[in-house]
């Protein structure tokens, strides 16, 4: 089954080398007003110790409330809960909406939870989860940002890395996701090669203020990364709370 699953997923999405993968169906059944945690087999889902997980489908909602509904996503890590999407509308009763996985893809580790907040009760949700050993080289970076320059990721010794694009599930294509509690931020993700002071920002101008709305996704540099190379992000989040996340592959130096 493992080999078949590896083959299936790799063949479809180019996702490499899941180790001991397991596909799970996450559900919220007849959710209540407010926060609802994605569950597997009736229990709030977090990857077990030694495992990670990622969402590899859109999230489907069925609105059974009798009126229009709205929903947004949150991500819990430790004692902190982060809003990670803008608000989606489910227009009418008995309607379904597809909540794109592009918005909700922090890679989950043990202790992390995925939550959907409903503005009404009686909504169902389904999502596909793939869970795998944390020795697999798909990893996630998730960080709260401070005003100024933040280092999100540094390649460790003996490793090479590539940013992994959640939009089309391919390596060497950069996509970072972020959320802030104000309407717009200047945000510049960039790549810095070990030993260099040059901030290579391949998609967002250093001279133009980028607008970072709530739950935005944007491109970022995605070169081959060697030990000591870093992914950084600068922001002028002087008053806002802001966080950013992306997925990357980290593998032994070839």
């Amino acid at each position: 089954m493992t080999d078949a699953l590896n083959g299936l997923v790799k063949g479809l999405y180019g996702i490499p080398c899941f180790e001991a993968p397991k596909c799970l169906t996450g559900r919220i059944r007849n959710g209540t007003l407010g926060d609802n945690t994605i569950q597997v087999n009736g229990t709030n889902y977090t990857p077990p110790s030694g495992r990670r997980a990622m969402i590899f489908s859109d999230v489907l909602f069925a609105n059974l409330s009798g009126s229009a509904a709205t929903v947004f996503a949150k991500f819990t890590r430790g004692a902190n809960t982060y809003t990670i999407s803008d608000t989606q509308s489910v227009s009418s009763s008995n309607a379904m909406v597809s909540f794109s996985r592009q918005r909700v893809l922090p890679v989950m580790s043990n202790g992390d939870y995925l939550i959907f907040n409903y503005a009404t009760s009686s909504c169902n949700a389904w999502v596909s989860i793939i869970e795998f050993d944390d020795s697999c080289f798909i990893k996630g970076a998730f960080a709260e940002l401070s005003n100024g320059i933040n280092t999100l990721y540094t390649v460790p010794s003996g490793k090479q890395a590539s940013v992994f694009n959640n939009r089309d599930m391919t390596p060497f294509r950069g996509a970072m996701f972020g959320y802030n509690t104000e309407a717009a931020r200047q945000v510049i993700p960039y790549f810095q090669k070990n030993g260099s002071s040059i901030n290579c920002s391949t998609s967002i101008s250093n001279s133009v203020v980028g607008v970072w709305g709530s739950g935005a996704g944007f491109q970022m540099p995605a070169p081959l990364m060697n030990p000591g190379d870093t992914i950084k992000i600068s922001t002028n989040a002087t008053t806002a709370q802001a966080w950013a996340w992306f997925t990357y592959l980290e593998f032994p130096t070839q």
Binding site: N6, G7, K10, G11, Y13, G14, P16, C17, F137, Q160, S162, T170, P171, F172, F191, K193, S196, I198, C200, S201, T202, S203, I204, S205, N206, S207, P221, A222, P223, L224, N226, L249, F251, P252, Q254
Partner: protein, 244 residues
């Protein structure tokens, strides 16, 4: 480690490369003019993926164009694109495989700017190889013939995943639009309408590029041919094959 790279870059289709490794070809201080980023060592080939990322910190608008050097001559493989100071962009083209002694290059109009790139280097005994022809002009030109004892399949990389079939890449380096027709011809046969794989496609002037579909598996002696009826304005055509 080839299995890891196969998995990372080829959706788990293993066995395309032997003894593969990633090679960083980043240059954070380009010279004005042509820059050779990487040359394939003896006994190796290198897969050049579809993109070079550029970051312009040269002080003024900078124009980039990707090239390869074959037999000492540089050939364009992308259109030219300019970006403003302190901005980043990408230079995109169709992937190809370089042979020993061939180089990946980029031209930069300004000194002091940056390019971020990488290649996959592997043994030249590997099934993955490519054909390249920089003089498709004045009638039929044979691009690739499947050798004795082998079969071959055109191969599309990640950047074309989801596209139907496989395709050769073309670029028009001249100032005149030309037409291109592709053929997959069985062994012992001649180029003709029965083996046409694609209707004549117009390729406009000045670095316009198109994909030329090639569908099917080649047996020994089968060959891929291209036709450009223009007598003097050549096309560049390349493609990747898996030959086993």
């Amino acid at each position: 480690m080839a299995d890891i790279i196969n998995s990372i870059y080829n959706s788990g289709w293993n066995g395309f490369y032997n003894n593969a490794k990633f090679v960083d070809v980043t240059n954070l201080n380009l010279s004005a003019g042509d820059n050779d980023l990487y040359t394939v060592p003896t006994g190796k080939r290198a897969l050049v993926p579809y993109v070079l990322s550029t970051y312009n910190n040269s002080g003024s608008t900078c124009t980039y164009q990707a090239k390869i050097k074959v037999g000492g001559t540089r050939y364009i493989i992308s259109s030219a694109a300019g970006i403003g100071n302190n901005s980043g962009s990408t230079t995109n083209y169709r992937s190809l495989v370089l042979e020993a002694g061939e180089s990946l290059c980029i031209s930069s109009s300004n000194a002091g700017s940056c390019v971020l790139g990488w290649v996959i280097e592997f043994d030249d005994s590997s099934p993955m190889k490519s054909f390249k022809n920089f003089n498709v002009v004045n009638g039929n030109v044979t691009l690739y013939t499947c050798p004795s004892g082998k079969t071959a399949k055109m191969f599309n990389l990640v950047e074309t995943a989801g596209a139907s079939g496989s395709a050769a890449a073309t670029i028009n380096p001249t100032a005149t639009g030309v037409n291109l027709t592709m053929y997959l011809v069985p062994s012992g046969q001649s180029v003709g309408v029965n083996y046409q794989n694609q209707q004549a496609t117009g390729i406009f002037a000045s670095a316009d590029s198109v994909d030329a579909p090639i569908s099917g598996v080649l047996a020994a002696g089968d060959f891929i041919a291209a036709n450009n009826p223009n007598a003097s304005n050549q096309l560049y055509v390349w493609g990747i094959v898996i030959e086993q």
